[in-house]
Symmetry: C2
Subunit: 161 residues, 2 copies
DNA sequence: GTCCGTGCAAAACGTTTGCACGGAG
DNA sequence: CTCCGTGCAAACGTTTTGCACGGAC
């Protein structure tokens, strides 16, 4: 039941601006008996505005600089974990490092191509791959919860050099 | 050039027994100016025989118990990194923990479905997904180096409970 | 004798936890 | 007054690094 409202929140986020997103978010928190804070909002705003894939340290640093809010790294991790479990943000691991990078799920689900040279991340969504995954999981008796589809390679610019 | 011989080694490994595999491996090391050691062989043998997805600690522990070889965890990591870069072993991350598990690439490339409840790993290979990935990468100007396709879900047995 | 790979221990890294404080209801 | 979320610092688990030793050539 909680899961349903979480997923709905994720879906409702599409095509909205940040203010209305925060409104839904606060409502969601209240329903769960939790309260919104300036830190939670700042983390989300950074992910919303930077639109990149940021790790916890980067988020903390931007929050401090841009919004002059004192924020502890533990708070960032606590909130990112909460947001990830609520399907509001999603995490990817850029190869070679063991660091998780996060992005807001506002554009709906997509997968990633990452350049192993410059780190550039390109997003894509492929209906066929999604369908194949579902079939594979089903034929193996699995119910899909999530998946991670990341392609690593060299981008055009880096090939040119 | 180094990369080519590495990839060839990976391909040549299919359908061979461990002895001939080690022979190719030693040749590959010699070409690269490196030497084989009892530790390298033991790590590979464990991955070859156990056929599961083992993390560094597990590999070290099995090497010590089964082959009575003293091996330091640093050596295991050093060799696993080398083997991964040489495409001889590949790593997956079982969700929630941040630990890498390794498997030998002897059966050729495949992807994984992991049960988030019991940790069971099922391997699969899907021609259509592979093809789609190639097309997506190309249309974005990328040359694929590798990819990670992991589906997380609940397996039949865990659903039954 | 030189060099490379090792074991050990310490360090580094990303992340989580314990605790006391402060602000909201 | 209570409770929840926070900052800080310490702890944690995984992985990497520095160093000295020993064996292969």
């Amino acid at each position: 039941m909680i899961l349903i409202s979480i997923i709905n929140l994720g879906e409702k986020m599409e095509n909205k601006n940040f203010d209305s997103f925060i409104k839904s978010f606060t409502t969601y928190l209240k329903k769960a008996g939790l309260s919104n804070t300036i830190q939670k909002e700042a983390i989300l705003k950074v992910l919303f505005e930077e639109a990149g894939h940021l790790n916890a340290e980067e988020i903390a640093s931007i929050v401090k600089k841009k919004y002059k809010i004192n924020i502890g790294i533990a708070t960032v991790y606590r909130n990112l974990n909460f947001l990830e479990n609520s399907n509001i943000v999603s995490a990817i691991v850029k190869d070679s490092s063991n660091t998780k990078s996060y992005e807001i799920s506002i554009d709906g689900h997509h997968d990633h191509i990452i350049c192993t040279k410059c780190g550039k991340v390109v997003e894509f969504f492929d209906e066929d791959i999604e369908k194949s995954q579902l079939e594979i999981a089903q034929s193996n008796g699995f119910t899909i919860e999530s998946h991670n589809m990341t392609i690593y390679g060299i981008c055009q610019e880096c090939k040119g050099q």
